[in-house]
């Protein structure tokens, strides 16, 4: 048995070029399969960790998923705002422990600018209930002050005391600048691994102030209010984008949700973050399964290629099989010899695929973090991935039976003298 394994290894080494190419194919397909699974897993994880402790997310009436996407994940834009009075009415409800107003719409180098209040730094929770903490500085207190997420400070190289200009609207280029009212960086948050990292935080009043002399998305011609005079105006916001609500008791959540959804002043929507996330997963679940199926198909193609290569080599190896037969090898041993080769390549391919994935995630993690806000963990394998790997090896085992059986049949038909 041991000798047969050595023989299989030497034979494989003798054909290392063709087998090497199929090995690469199998390894790449395994990397793809595990990579898809890893990204899927991390995406779910980072979404689930983005908000914690918030009982209701309130916004203008839209779909629950869309509200979550723009209010919590800063993806996409709100179609409508809600009135400040509505927000105040909800915040004043006796069941409400705290409320965080969110005002979105402006950006800085493509990163979202969020207008909010001090309540944000006090009550917002992420992960398993961790509060936000400052890596440097403190919450904003003055009008033109901003607190940066960790990623913002990292990517753009900002430090405390730097002055930055906010652009009107979302996007990267071609935006009008609020360059008459620059902001001073007064705080930088510690890394959270959530969309908070990619956000610039300012006060609601500041959002109001930079839009004083604007109308319809452009500065009013001939009207310019210098930064020093804005305090003379009423900076109380008229509208906000959304609000996060924390309750004194979770028991009140459905009652308050109903109340908000039936708000008499304007059409509002309150969603439970967990329920909305479930809806989101149901929506993307089909795409996920499709992606997984496609990568599984790629693995099948890799294994089919492996079987084809070994079967093709069998023609040249008939003489070899006859020699082994003449010195006493049983047909079953030749079956084992050929199957071992296929299984060996599959196992090696799976290992190589895992190593390649580890390498790729290590190399690409900063890029993915910067562009998609996903923190790819460079761990070896999770238990889910182990199951996928086991499935790959099982498929490889099944595939290896094909060349094994061919060798078996061939050795029985050829006997000691192959008819070439």
């Amino acid at each position: 048995m041991r000798w047969l394994l050595i023989l299989a290894a030497r034979s494989a080494w003798n054909r290392r070029l063709t087998l090497g190419m199929t090995l690469v194919a199998v390894a790449l397909s395994v990397t793809l399969l595990l990579g898809v699974e890893r990204v899927r897993d991390e995406a779910r994880n980072s979404f689930a960790l983005s908000v914690s402790g918030t009982d209701l997310v309130v916004g203008a009436r839209t779909s629950a998923v869309q509200l979550m996407l723009y209010a919590v994940f800063r993806l996409g834009e709100a179609s409508n705002n809600i009135r400040w009075q509505s927000y105040q009415a909800i915040a004043a409800d006796p069941a409400v422990a705290w409320a965080i107003p969110l005002s979105l719409g402006d950006s800085h180098h493509g990163l979202p600018v969020l207008g909010t209040t001090g309540a944000y730094f006090e009550h917002f929770r992420y992960g398993d209930g961790q509060p936000l903490s400052f890596a440097a500085g403190a919450p904003f207190s003055g009008l033109f002050e901003t607190v940066l997420g960790a990623e913002v400070a990292d990517r753009l190289g900002y430090r405390l005391g730097d002055r930055i200009v906010i652009s009107h609207g979302m996007g990267d280029t071609g935006l009008a600048e609020h360059d008459d009212k620059p902001f001073t960086v007064v705080g930088i948050l510690a890394r959270t691994g959530t969309p908070v990292d990619r956000t610039l935080h300012v006060s609601l009043e500041a959002i109001e102030a930079i839009h004083l002399d604007w109308a319809g998305g452009a500065p009013l011609p001939g009207l310019s209010i210098p930064a020093e005079y804005v305090r003379k105006f009423d900076l109380q916001p008229k509208e906000i984008t959304a609000a996060l609500i924390g309750l004194k008791s979770r028991a009140a959540v459905f009652r308050l949700q109903r109340k908000i959804n039936n708000h008499p002043g304007e059409p509002l929507l309150a969603v439970l973050p967990g329920v909305a996330l479930d809806q989101l997963w149901q929506m993307v679940g089909f795409a996920e399964r499709t992606l997984l199926a496609v990568s599984a198909m790629v693995v099948a193609v890799g294994l089919a290629g492996l079987v084809a290569v070994i079967l093709a080599s069998l023609g040249e190896r008939r003489r070899e099989l006859a020699i082994l037969r003449s010195v006493g090898a049983r047909p079953g041993e030749l079956f084992f010899l050929l199957s071992a080769e296929a299984l060996f390549v599959t196992l090696l391919g799976a290992l190589l695929g895992v190593a390649l994935l580890a390498l790729l995630t290590t190399l690409l993690a900063p890029l993915v973090q910067a562009h998609f806000g996903l923190s790819l963990s460079a761990q070896w394998v999770t238990s889910d991935e182990l199951q996928l790997l086991a499935a790959v090896v099982a498929a490889g085992l099944l595939a290896s039976l094909v060349p094994g059986y061919s060798a078996y049949r061939l050795s029985l038909a050829d006997g000691l003298t192959p008819r070439l």
Binding site: E320, I323, V327, G328, A329, R330, P331, T417
Partner: protein, 236 residues
């Protein structure tokens, strides 16, 4: 007269996909220590006979007695085991496994038979030492023992194959046209080496060839007729 080492009686074999051909051997006996030349033109069923003697094929009827074992009564795995333990095969061409060294090719016979491994170990100090000894005996210079088999000449390759057939002293050595790729001079030299080594290890030699000129030096000559029968070809 001692019992025959090989005794074939009333044997008949037919290929499933070839109704015209039928190997029919009423009686064939080979005694221990004999060197027998079996003449067989192509189409006479040489390969078929080798397959039967190797236990790879099973006759339709008849008896196939080797070393006191009735091959037709053995299960396939036992026949493979029997071949590994007692029979050394030597073929026409491409006898070697290209990715194994000269010595590993010789030792291949010991990998599938504990008996031949034990005998080779007893004969030399180790199986490898016995392989080297046999190769040197067969006139293959020690400098060639470490060479890749694909870089040996055909004659050298056949001597490596002969060493593989002989290692572990199998009772029967069956050679199937092992000299057909050699020129006349080398044929004679190779045959002498082969016969000498069979003598030394006490193996019975069954030499199969279509070329009667090689029959000189064998104890006995048999003929396979084109139809698949066998007849005594007279002493050489």
């Amino acid at each position: 007269m001692p019992a025959a080492l090989i005794r074939i009686e009333n044997l008949r074999f037919r290929w499933a996909d070839d109704a015209d051909f039928c190997l029919d051997i009423p009686l064939l006996e080979v005694h221990a220590g004999e060197r027998v030349f079996l003449h067989g033109p192509s189409g006479s069923g040489k390969s078929t006979l080798l397959g039967l003697l190797g236990g790879v094929l099973v006759p339709e009827r008849g008896r196939l007695h080797l070393l006191g074992s009735e091959l037709t009564q053995l299960r396939p795995a036992a026949r493979d085991r029997f071949r590994a333990d007692h029979v050394g095969f030597l073929f026409q061409l491409f006898n070697l496994i290209p990715y194994l060294s000269v010595v590993d090719n010789v030792l291949l016979s010991c990998r599938f038979s504990a008996r031949r491994l034990a005998r080779a170990t007893a004969a030399g100090n180790s199986p490898a030492a016995e392989a080297h000894r046999l190769l040197t005996q067969l006139d293959l210079d020690a400098s060639l023992h470490g060479r890749q088999v694909t870089r040996l000449s055909v004659g050298q390759q056949q001597r490596v194959a002969a060493a593989r057939a002989l290692i572990g002293q199998p009772e029967i050595v069956i050679a199937d046209e092992p000299t057909s790729a050699l020129d006349t001079e080398r044929q004679v030299a190779f045959l002498e080496l082969l016969r000498d080594e069979c003598d030394r290890s006490g193996s019975t030699l069954l030499f199969v060839s279509h070329d009667r000129r090689l029959a000189a030096g064998f104890d006995r000559q048999l003929s396979l007729a084109t139809g698949g029968g066998v007849s005594a070809g007279g002493s050489a």
